[in-house]
Symmetry: C2
Subunit: 199 residues, 2 copies
Amino acid sequence: MPKIVDHSERKSNIAEATWRVIIHQGIKGATVRNIAAEAGVSLGALRHYFSTHHELLVFAMNLVKERVTARIVDIMQTDLPPREQVASVLLELLPTDDGSMAEMEVWFAFIFHLKSAGEHNDEHHDAIYPLIIQLIDYLDQHELLRQELDKDSEAERLYAVVDGLALHAMLEPERLNSQRMIRVLNVHLDSICSSAQPQ
Amino acid sequence: MPKIVDHSERKSNIAEATWRVIIHQGIKGATVRNIAAEAGVSLGALRHYFSTHHELLVFAMNLVKERVTARIVDIMQTDLPPREQVASVLLELLPTDDGSMAEMEVWFAFIFHLKSAGEHNDEHHDAIYPLIIQLIDYLDQHELLRQELDKDSEAERLYAVVDGLALHAMLEPERLNSQRMIRVLNVHLDSICSSAQPQ
């Protein structure tokens, strides 16, 4: 019988090898040759799955997005109180452990690679902002958002807080560790949530 | 008489050529050869001023920092009310026009280049956070900061808001234009400043 190869799993393995190469050698080191070596596959096999370098990077990037999205969907299906549910979703967007720090590094490396290559990156980046709008709406629907706040400004501000913390945790991890990041996020949530409402 | 060359000006010209190359071709395109061509100097002349590629990039980066710092010092010497002075300083850290957007792109390109090259970048990046701490202290000294706030958390949060806005304005300029960025920054300042105090 022919050997059965799970194509989807093989592609994921190559994507994960791509992440490891980006983390250790930067986006510049993420050549097809280095990725094939890291994944333990031949150049020919790699080209069978991904016909261009760009296609491979986009796949690796989308896998990060899919995994984050899957974790967020799981959280939204729990019975957590709304305020805690929102906090948990936002924590998924922050690099709070080695795994999510690696995802964050791949994400930023990729975003800047596209930016400096002059590629239009809306499809890759814009996924987060609509989610943040939903979270602000969700707090508002549960009467947790302070009534005097402008939802549009608050979505933009929350998005800045989350990505600003993520960026600084990546660049200055000695000061901004996971515990400190979570504390600042909660200070922000407290400041936009009505204290009179049940959490 | 020999031609008098202003070395400092020549170095600044080469640094500005470096910025233009980074903006148009990304950090990858910022080779010594491309920079010399953009600056209109020979490779030999460029090497006379900068013995290594890294030295050139660090100089270009530091020139961004010096110019931003000079603008901030100017603002701190004005007679603006404290709240407006703080807002003006923070605006210098945001890409509100083409010039500051270019500086921001150079800054981020450089930071990520160092990060992916595994270089320790504290000396280049940490300049901003101490400034943010000073601004929070300054608001507090003028009894503008809301008394119930924790200054340490607020410095970290303000830093995240500012860099998060800067990052998003660079990556998603169609949504986050200059006017919107300024509005969100002011929403944030209003939220941490006591409304009972004179501004």
